[in-house]
Amino acid sequence: MITPYIRCVGQFSIKFVESIGRACLMLSLSLFGKPHRKLLPLFVQQVFQLGILSLPIILTSGLFIGMVLSLQGYYVLVDYAAEQSLGSLVALSLLRELGPVVAALLFSGRAGSSLTAEIGLMQSTEQLASMEMMAVSPYKRVLAPRLLAGIVTLPMLTLLFNVVAIWGGYLIGVSWMGVDGGAYWSVMQGSVDYLPDVMNGVLKSVIFAVMITWVALYNGYYVVPTAQGISYSTTKTVVISSLLVLAMDFVLTALMFGA
């Protein structure tokens, strides 16, 4: 009576643990051991694919998020005659939370999905298998440069996102709403600290980058080799990595800024 249900739970758990094992195996096979001899040019090419091509969406959304944040912050702060603190509100919320998280979500939608689709198509047309036949490790030749490029580019995109967003906040707060420009910067400098605020944000985005590229590559590598399978994997990448980013952000915030 109840045994099939228990078996169902067991099956699910075994599959879950198996997939974690496979993902870790994939990570260690692509990162450790002798690297591919053309790793550097391949890596540069992937930085271009993942970083430069994500710049338009990252920069425009950064600008608009900074502008909206500044506008909404101004309306609340002006009631308490505290609009001078607009700079610190914008900079702190961007550096600590919004910058890393929003950039990571955009990155998972823009770059993570494309990684999964690319690797998934390689897998289903058996390009990776034929690479292995030629004694070229697909882990080293295909996965490693993408993984490294993802880990390096997202923190850089986050930094650019933050700068553009703070500038957008300045544009709205100072040029449109008439907050004093000197106060905007000096209050910001007074309340933002380099290590706890700027560097913790960068650390956050490094962790997000590892998670997003790992999930994307895993879903691409272990794709069901059909057209439907690729679309399913791509969707799964975006959903899982976005949820992981949000959940991990809460944990990291509690660790970094709690206590």
Binding site: I52, Q189, D197
Partner: protein, 156 residues
Amino acid sequence: MSQKKIELWVGLFVIGALVSLAILAFSVAGLSFKGDGRSYTINASFTNIGGLKVRAPVKLGGVVVGRVEEISLDTQSYMPVVRLSMFENKGIYPETSSLSILTSGLLGEQYIGITPGFIDEDIEMLADGDTIEDTKSALVLEDLIGQFIYSINKED
């Protein structure tokens, strides 16, 4: 796209990221290489420090001349003891100087104001590890309101 063009774009991207890190560090976080310079520490005990925090500034006429380094409680006298780190390049003060805990604005952060005392022949200057005796505690709003109500009631 050729490898050369890709490398050019990636180079620009990396430089852009480094520039933004520099902007965030120096323009947003206000980091500076100069630091606060050499400093010496002096101690002071207050009866009530209010909402004073570590790293709060010590000001003389609005100019920052030091920072609060540590706040502890003297378990013998039950008095809060504040250790201040004073910047050497902002001068030294006679031991008759007094400290008071002030508030910037009506609801702002609390800081320590230092008032230099008189200098006479037998008055020494404060050196590392010295203690300032003349201190004035923080203004606690509740106490103030209590005194105000008490003085109103007395007039009736």
